[in-house]
């Protein structure tokens, strides 16, 4: 299958008063055309940093320490600020976590939507003002129909505070899909919504994704959401991808001890089992532990884990980063 996005060995660091935070330490993954990829991990594992690095919206105190982000054959990290602006909003868009804060409170929805649509050269190149406005209006109405919003005309004239959270998230989704991008990065799109709306919103995204054959990177810490919606999953821990493979394969038999821990921590309806948590806390990324970053919390820790970091291995149809599956060293 055709790869839309290929992240290779990406490292990102933040300068802080405490020292350099190594937020991403050489992560590699790819997104195939028309698939939904789940990016899972705890808070601070680097999920959002990954999305910011891809879109080049990292804060000023950050530095891309290495790697490349190939998108449609171009390395996004090497583009000029002007060129990346052409990619953002047209080829790559985003759906964000909190719909309440991601819409500008002092402009009408229609006004904000219009500015996004003007990114499209096909629209902004229409010289006749009346015709352009008409095209924009038609496009907005169509987009709102896509996300099943009643009375699009009313929404266009509304201010964000006049809409409910679910409506606002639909507006954001409509905006994200409106220019038919090839990639959408959805950073915890349902976290701020209540559970019933969450399912609706995800179903909607799934439908639109199928309809327009868009690739989606779904960032979440909810493994259930990934199981229901995604094709493949990448599990992140302390700035690394520890396991990456098909959702079915990984869920059926998680290999990395961290993934196993996450699975045990899921509440289950079919078994009357206690929920287990993973002992310990996320390591400090200013001074990450030597060797494998997970070794302090790992059940299967070996001597080698404390000294040398594991490298990615192909094992049982997925990529996993763990010394357990490194036959010559861990096979004893």
């Amino acid at each position: 299958m055709e790869k839309v996005l290929e992240v290779k060995d990406l490292s990102v660091q933040f300068k802080t008063y405490r020292g350099i935070v190594k937020a991403l330490n050489g992560i590699s993954f790819d997104v195939l055309k028309g698939e939904m990829l789940g990016l899972a991990g705890e808070t601070g594992s680097g999920k959002s940093v990954t999305s910011q690095a891809i879109m080049r919206t990292l804060p000023e105190n950050s530095k891309i320490a290495g790697g490349s982000v190939l998108f449609e054959g171009k390395d996004l990290l090497k583009l000029t600020e002007k060129d990346i602006e052409m990619v953002r909003g047209r080829s790559i868009t985003a759906v964000f976590q909190d719909p309440h804060t991601y819409l500008n409170p002092v402009f009408r929805i229609g006004q904000q939507f219009k500015d996004i649509l003007l990114n499209d050269p096909a629209i902004s190149s229409i010289k006749d003002k009346k015709k352009r406005e008409a095209t924009i209006n038609e496009k907005m109405t169509q987009s709102f129909r896509d996300v099943k919003m009643p009375s699009p005309e009313r929404i266009i004239r509304s201010y964000p505070h006049e809409l409910s959270g679910g409506m606002k998230q639909r507006v954001l989704i409509a905006m994200a899909f409106s220019l038919k991008p090839s990639l959408i990065i959805a950073d915890e799109p349902t976290t701020a919504l209540d559970v019933t709306i969450q399912a609706q919103v995800l179903r909607l995204m799934r439908e639109l994704q199928k309809k327009y054959h868009t690739s989606v990177v779904l960032i979440t810490h909810d493994l259930g959401v990934i199981a229901e919606n995604c094709d493949r999953i990448a599990i992140m821990y302390a700035g690394r991808i520890v396991e990456f493979g098909d959702v079915k394969t990984v869920y059926a038999k998680p290999l990395h001890p961290y993934t196993q821990g996450l699975m045990r921590a899921l509440p289950r309806a079919d078994k009357d089992a206690q929920i287990e948590s993973i002992g310990g806390t996320v390591p400090d990324l200013v001074n990450p532990p030597k060797g494998c970053t997970f070794h302090e919390r790992c059940r299967n820790v070996m001597d080698v884990c404390k000294t040398s970091p594991p490298s990615p291995l192909f094992h049982e149809g997925r990529i996993v980063e763990c010394h357990l599956y490194n036959e010559p060293l861990g096979g004893s």
């Binding site: 919206t57 985003a94 909190d98 819409l103 409170p105 002092v106 500015d115 996004i116 990114n119 201010y159």
Partner: protein, 343 residues
């Protein structure tokens, strides 16, 4: 509720506020100062003094005096201004437009320098432009007004004149000789506007020259305040999620900063500009005194020094009206800027 309904309700409230202000200032001035002083001199015969006391009701109880005062206030019979050497209504008609003229120029300088400087400062956060503008605003806030006024007079009047360069006038509102040669009819009382409308550009230019130094003095402190406020407001806004969103959707930087961020950032700035404007309209006592500029500040300063209770009373009422009106205006602009505000 519609915005004009709100405005009408606020205007009703405005009346009560001014009512309260008159009670307090009336009692203070009547108790502390001699109301008779405006009407008599050493040479007034004693029987005439009694007649004046009776004519103005100074022998009545204070609450009755207050109602007399209130009646006079409403009927625009505000009495005599000793320091203005004319009836008070005339004095205000003469001095207030001068202050308005000075204020408008000063507020233009304040906004045109303060707001862009604050924006640059925020966009170049912690770069040299930011440091320069922060030092500039700190200096603006710290310099005493009287020192700045005197220094400007020294630099642009005495020093430039002494080395034979063109210089700016240091005091007054207009060259009186020039005004006699090129008379201006008083339409609004604002000399610069009147002369401009009447095509009398000699006076327009002369008035403008007289305004430059006091306007800069008056603006300087406020430029500092406004720069800091704009900077912090802008910094807060560009960290908001909706700015990230606009970036993620590839909107041009120009649109993000000057449309999406600016409208949000201007909300607190407008309040501040309103308050500064109201404060300036009340007359800048120190600035106007240093430059002998015949405005409300100069009038009130002299009224206080010479115990002119009539003028003080009138001055306070005028300032109260200005402040409440400016606040009303600010609230209306608010509603226009921020759709979340409902009345």
């Amino acid at each position: 509720m519609k915005i004009y309904e709100y405005a009408i309700r606020r205007i009703f409230l405005l009346i009560f506020v001014i009512f309260g202000v008159t009670i307090i200032t009336f009692i203070f001035t009547r108790v502390l100062l001699n109301p008779l002083a405006a009407y008599i001199t050493d040479k007034t015969p004693p029987d005439a003094v009694i007649a004046i006391i009776q004519a103005h009701g100074f022998d009545r109880p204070i609450y009755e005096q207050y109602f007399i005062y209130l009646k006079d206030l409403v009927t625009l019979d505000w009495g005599w201004s000793n320091v203005g050497h004319m009836a008070l209504t005339d004095a205000i008609r003469t001095f207030f437009p001068a202050t308005v003229e000075l204020t408008i120029l000063a507020i233009i300088i304040t906004v045109l320098i303060g707001v862009p400087l604050g924006i640059i400062s925020a966009l170049k956060n912690n770069k040299w432009q930011d440091h320069a503008s922060r030092i500039f605003s700190l200096v603006g806030i710290s310099i005493p007004v009287f020192w700045l006024g005197l220094s400007l007079q020294y630099a642009f009047t005495y020093w430039t004149r002494s080395i034979g360069l063109p210089f700016l006038p240091s005091t007054g509102r207009v060259d009186p000789l020039l005004l006699i040669q090129n008379p201006v009819q008083g339409w609004t009382g604002m000399l610069m506007l009147d002369s401009f409308l009447q095509g009398n550009f000699v006076i327009t230019l002369d008035v403008f020259k007289h305004l430059i130094l006091p306007a800069i003095t008056l603006a300087f402190l406020n430029v500092g305040i406004l720069t800091r406020l704009t900077r912090s407001s802008m910094l807060e806004v560009i960290r908001q999620d909706y700015i990230t969103m606009a970036k993620a959707y590839g909107l041009p930087r120009r649109v993000i900063i000057y449309k999406y961020a600016l409208k949000n950032a201007m909300i607190p700035v407008i309040t501040s500009v309103g308050l500064i404007f109201g404060g300036m309209l009340g007359g800048a006592i120190i600035t106007e005194s240093i430059f002998s500029y015949p405005g409300m500040g100069w009038l009130s300063y002299r009224a206080i020094v010479f115990n002119d209770s009539n003028t003080i009373l009138a001055y306070v009422v005028v300032v109260a009206i200005i402040f409440v009106s400016v606040n009303l205006l600010v609230d209306i602009i608010y509603a226009w800027l921020d759709p979340r505000i409902k009345y």
